[in-house]
Amino acid sequence: MFAALRKWFDERLDLDDLLAPLRHKTVPRHRLSAWYFLGGITLFLFGIQVCTGILLLLYYRPSGNEAFESVQYIMTRVQFGWLVRSIHSWSANLMIFTAFAHMFSVLFLKAYRKPRELTWVSGMILLFLVMGFGFSGYLLPWNTLAFFATKVGTEITGQVPVVGKPLMVFLRGGDDVTGATLTRFFGFHVAVLPGIATILLSMHLLLVQRLGMSLPPRVEAAWAADPKAKRETRFFPNFVLRELMAWYIALGALGALAALFPWNLGTKADPFASAPAGIKPEWYFLFMFQTLKLIPSKVWIIDGEVLGIVGFGLAATFWVLLPFFARDHLAGSKKWITGMSVVALAYIVAMSAYGYLAH
């Protein structure tokens, strides 16, 4: 029956012709190829987010009065609602983690080099979008922690020179974090960000397909020196099956995390209550948060916080444009980029750990 169905489609769509490039496509195989799976897993987790997000939309109500109760309703009254919400939360966190890991693996494997600059740029923007997803989604259950984290987060936005204040008012939908902010964040989370992300993601994937897998320079050199050492696998089915296996393992891990450590809901946000002590943002913002805390309030004549934000802004811009600073003919350029990546990674890990342990 399966063969008949296939034949039916083949006659109309000419599947063989369509899949031919995939059959001929090969993926290099070497001792570092495991790192290639991070992007795929991030994609898979994004898919999970879309599916569970749509499921949550069936019951969620985006207003200050009802948001918390509707999430509580999902978790208590809806069958398996706890699982869907838990998976959404866990998957979100894992996705941000794998996205970061993907970014650093690309850096260390030097996959950003010509001709893959655009892939890098689209990927970096996707990373920012993912963080935007995290920031906007965190508020939606309207619990105390999320409320104050959003308050602090948007406050920091307000420190950006010139555009900060209007930007903060735009994000908050007013001068303060209120139900209006929630409605706005909901709009960003389920409409604006997914729209932009879909376009960028298609671009990113198309570029990856078009340009093929990059080869780390050292492997490339080794293979050039000794063509017999060159090893490749077919994209379809070998690589796809491996990818599928990775996805299944990710799914198992996700299910186990969601079932054994369900995401807590906390208490409903009270805009008039004073902030609980030791309020912290989600872990992926922690390194920035901690840095801003450590900068003295005045550095020379510049406000410390402003300095920190401008610094992060410049660093992010520089990071996006990183491939354009790498010159093939300049022998040292890739070395300093790798060195800088190590420093950045160490900084992020250390600051996050410090922020986690500090009060």
Binding site: M75, N238, L251, G255
Partner: protein
């Protein structure tokens, strides 16, 4: 408390003259109230600054130094301003203070001009108080108005900085009553303040900020401060703990206590250092109360044991339900409804602990049974949640098994293709 009986008049005049000369040359001294011109520069105890006096409720209502001390503040010359012919009274003797304050505060006609709702019986009450009675017998160490209300910066009691604000009353009383040296010669202890600070009432007042919680004056009165007598203790406590009082009233203890002239509540709960009561009061341990009077094995001892058993069983049931609900909640089960219902069970326990004052095991049992029903239902909810947790884990195990099979399958396929 240091009380000055020295006549400072000579020093007073000389110093004041000097200040006037200095301030006149500087172009000051045009002020209507010339008293403060000097007194803001004088050393203690004559020092009164504009800043201090402006805090005083009397100053805010338009009274001046002359309202109490007499004299003519419009005169810059200290001799004229402080002349006895202008009615200047100088230092007010402690014995005169209540009368002086009372000249306005006991006069409804005068007080109506400022605050018609203010009482005017303070002076007559003061005369009935131990302080007032001792003062009339010539004991000047006792408190007069100014000792509690302060002198030149008197604030209304509602002001949190006032010495007679509920939060500050105990400290104000303690200035004398906790000073063993000062209280020497009086047959009362000086540890009330230290004891009160350990009490549940102090906790309610300062920690929980419950301004209705009792402080010294709540039980002893303020202007008519006396220790409540043996008979009135119950009434004093009953103003807040009405329920306990009603029960006690109907109980057999009422007459037994009266016969032995025991002062009600205080017998078990103490007075100044009332701590949060515990069920162990009903036990036989070191804090046990009943067994101080009752003999082991008699009817009352049995009732005591019954009541204690009731309370303990409810307490245990509540804790048991709390524990399982907490465990279920920490593993992600939603049991907020049962946790809410736990409050009702706790209410029953609180009520049962109040009902103890009837000393009737049947009445306590009624409250306990109501609570037990709720707590046990909540415990069952907790058990169901734990069963649900097991169900989830089994489900997870099964799906993980399926995932495992698929992963193994794929890896075999890959091996097969690549071999």
């Amino acid at each position: 408390m240091a009380i000055l009986h020295i006549n400072l008049d000579r020093f007073h005049r000389a110093a004041c003259l000097m200040v006037v000369v200095v301030s006149a040359t500087l172009g000051f001294g045009q002020n209507k109230n010339s008293c403060l011109d000097c007194h803001s520069a004088l050393p203690e105890p004559l020092n009164v600054t504009q800043e201090k006096f402006s805090q005083d409720i009397h100053a805010q209502k338009g009274l001046t130094c002359a309202s109490c001390h007499g004299g003519d503040p419009t005169k810059d010359d200290s001799d004229k301003a402080m002349s006895r012919t202008a009615g200047w009274k100088g230092h007010i003797d402690r014995r005169q203070v209540p009368q002086l304050c009372g000249s306005c505060h006991s006069d409804p006609a005068t007080m109506r001009k400022f605050d018609p709702s203010l009482r005017t019986d303070q002076l007559s009450q003061y005369h009935t108080s131990v302080h007032g009675q001792r003062l009339s017998k010539g004991d000047t160490k006792v408190a007069v108005c100014t000792d509690c209300h302060s002198v030149h910066d008197i604030r209304p009691p509602s002001d949190p900085r006032s010495t007679v604000n509920p939060v500050n009353v105990a400290t104000t009383c303690s200035h004398c009553h906790a000073d063993a040296n000062y209280m020497k010669g009086y047959p009362i202890p000086t540890d009330q303040f230290a004891q009160y600070n350990t009490s549940v009432h102090h906790d309610a007042l300062t920690v929980r900020g419950d301004l209705s919680a009792p402080t010294c004056t709540t039980c002893h009165g303020n202007h008519g401060a006396t220790p409540p007598g043996v008979d009135s203790v119950r009434n004093v406590c009953a103003t807040c703990h009405a329920f306990q009082a009603q029960m006690f009233e109907k109980s057999t203890h009422k007459q037994a206590f009266a016969k032995a002239s025991l002062p009600g509540c205080v017998v078990c709960h103490g007075n100044h250092g009332i701590t949060h009561p515990s069920d162990a009061y009903l036990g036989t341990g070191s804090v046990a109360l009943c067994m101080r009077c009752h003999a082991p094995g008699d009817r009352c001892d049995q009732a005591r044991a019954n009541i204690l058993a009731e309370l303990t069983s409810l307490d245990h049931s509540i804790k048991r339900a709390d524990n399982i609900l907490k465990l279920a909640e920490s593993s992600g089960m939603e049991v907020s409804e049962a946790r809410l219902a736990q409050n009702e069970a706790r209410d029953s326990l609180t009520k049962a602990r109040v009902t103890i004052h009837s000393f009737q095991p049947e009445l306590v049992q009624q409250d306990v049974q109501a609570g037990l029903k709720i707590a046990n239902a909540n415990f069952e909810t907790g058990q169901r949640a734990m069963a649900e947790r097991r169900y989830r884990r089994v489900g997870l195990g099964l799906s993980l098994l399926a995932i495992c099979v698929v992963v193994i399958g794929i890896s075999l396929v890959i091996k097969h293709i690549e071999s």
